[in-house]
Symmetry: C2
Subunit: 311 residues, 2 copies
């Protein structure tokens, strides 16, 4: 590609806004489809403070969810949360051109299939983001630290599109790694997220060290990690059990912190329960793998949602 | 015993006040040791509304926790909650005479041993109360329904003291059954309480039907019940698995309700976590019985307590 490709960010929250800024810095045209932040971004663009400097930018086009596209993008980057009420297939439908590559920068496991099935002709690039960023108000994002991406073609492999996109992110100033087995990388990330995130919510927003230092807490986290490893293995993504020690050790080395799901919970935002935990338990059932610890946490969260009339 | 025996209630909350009233009706002298409700009860006695009529009474003596006894009672009935911060052995110490029979009307499993070990010469009577009652303000109790007791000598058997006490409760107007195996009865009661009570707290105060009707909820409750049955069997108290169906069916036949631990939680009162759940998990460990569902709920509750600086 000689001309820099066109990018459309669907769901420009903290993550989408940040990665859009990086691609803008790399020289791409970057547009955004917004819902609640439409007016703010239309008026003042996207404001981003970052250790990388001021990353604020004006998107080339600002669309409102429901607008008809002026053109379809080379890369459609989907950054909405994976929630039961959000129909991602419908959300991207108006913007999917024949050659549009669909890029997911989203959390969770088994979140690609639905989109791959709906758009079998469009290459799907799955990305993992290692980043600390938050939206502080409409159109305003605080990038705190990190930002590295790991990406690959779904379900596996690396193609020209992956290479081009990864290179653009690097040109924009962040780290980006390619992987032949992106699903495997998702499992590695979820080895941490699937136990810690939902557990922090059931524990009313507990931080990492509170969870580990509670009597029986570290053992519970380890038991949940072992269950994740068993499900991953049944899915064809074996992981070394030594990763459990590594994850625990690394978590203990960091200061106590509240993970993103704990923060969502404490701020009354919806949590990505199914993407991070429910899908793992569903896969476990399909493979007849017993996951009593994961299931107890999942059902407890469902009971809470039922109590609040949310399901 | 020709003369009616003397009774001392230690911990005259809803349960202690109610059963004191019944024994008062049966003609016993009934005194009470109080802490926070001392002044109110001293001034106006104990007020109890009940479907059985007005059960209000003046205790023969009203003591404050820490007073020295004028005499030791024939039956010391201990009704305080079983909580880590409450030293029950010390609490009853000043009132234990050589011939005093110690009576527990308290919830939970494995709650007798500590007292039996401390007072090996005093017969210990363990009671289960099937009652709906609550303390609405200092010295004021609302008895809503039920009231039946099941009692026996701890660790097993029925002696003269049990018979006499049970007969007094019957004379006072409630049902009272004797059992040769009171610990076995505790397990049967905990088959319901151990899953439902703590689960309702983790689920933020969910009622019975919300818990059962959540997707996966009934299965989770059943899994926890199976674990309770396994621990009970290892302890020498086998239960029929058919009790699980019975418990679920009976719960479904009742209107949705919030159990006592859910209400304690919602009203910011301490919960009897260890008595109802922690002790079961501890026994499971001792017998190497795997209880992943029970343990997940237990550790989650501990994480919450740690988060709130309560342990």
């Amino acid at each position: 590609m000689n001309k820099k490709p066109s990018i459309l960010i669907v769901g420009a929250g903290a993550i989408g806004s940040f990665y859009g800024a990086i691609l803008k810095k790399a020289g791409c045209s970057v547009s955004a489809v917004l819902r609640s932040d439409y007016n703010a971004v239309r008026a003042q663009g996207i404001r981003i403070t970052s250790p990388l400097g001021d990353l604020s930018y004006e998107p080339d086009h600002v669309y409102r969810d429901g607008d008809l596209p002026e053109e379809t993008p080379d890369f459609l980057i989907l950054c909405v949360k994976v929630l039961p009420g959000v129909d991602r297939v419908a959300l991207v439908a108006p913007w999917m051109g024949e050659k549009t590559r669909l890029v997911l920068i989203e959390n969770g496991l088994d979140i690609e299939k639905e989109l791959a099935d709906a758009y079998p002709q469009n290459p799907l690039i799955s990305c993992l983001a290692f980043i600390a960023a938050s939206r502080t108000e409409s159109g305003v994002v605080e990038h705190k630290a990190y930002g590295k991406l790991v990406m690959g073609r779904y379900p596996e492999g690396i193609d020209e599109g992956c290479r081009a996109l990864s290179q653009l992110f690097i040109e924009g100033g962040i780290k980006s790694d390619l992987t032949e087995r992106v699903v495997s990388e998702r499992w590695r990330k979820c080895l941490w997220n699937t136990p810690f995130n939902p557990l922090s919510v059931v524990a009313n927003g507990a931080d990492t060290l509170t969870m580990l230092d509670t009597t029986g807490g570290e053992e519970l986290v380890r038991a949940m990690m072992r269950e994740v490893i068993e499900v991953a293995a049944a899915e064809g993504y074996p992981m070394d059990e030594a990763l459990i020690d590594q994850n625990i050790d690394n978590t203990r080395k960091m200061p106590a912190y509240k993970n993103s799901m704990a923060l969502d919970y404490l701020n009354d935002r919806p949590i990505e329960r199914e993407a991070v935990l429910g899908n793992v338990v569903a896969l476990a059932k399909r493979h007849s793998v017993a996951v009593p610890h994961l299931n107890t946490v999942l059902v407890t969260l469902k009971m809470r949602a039922a109590l609040e009339g949310r399901e």
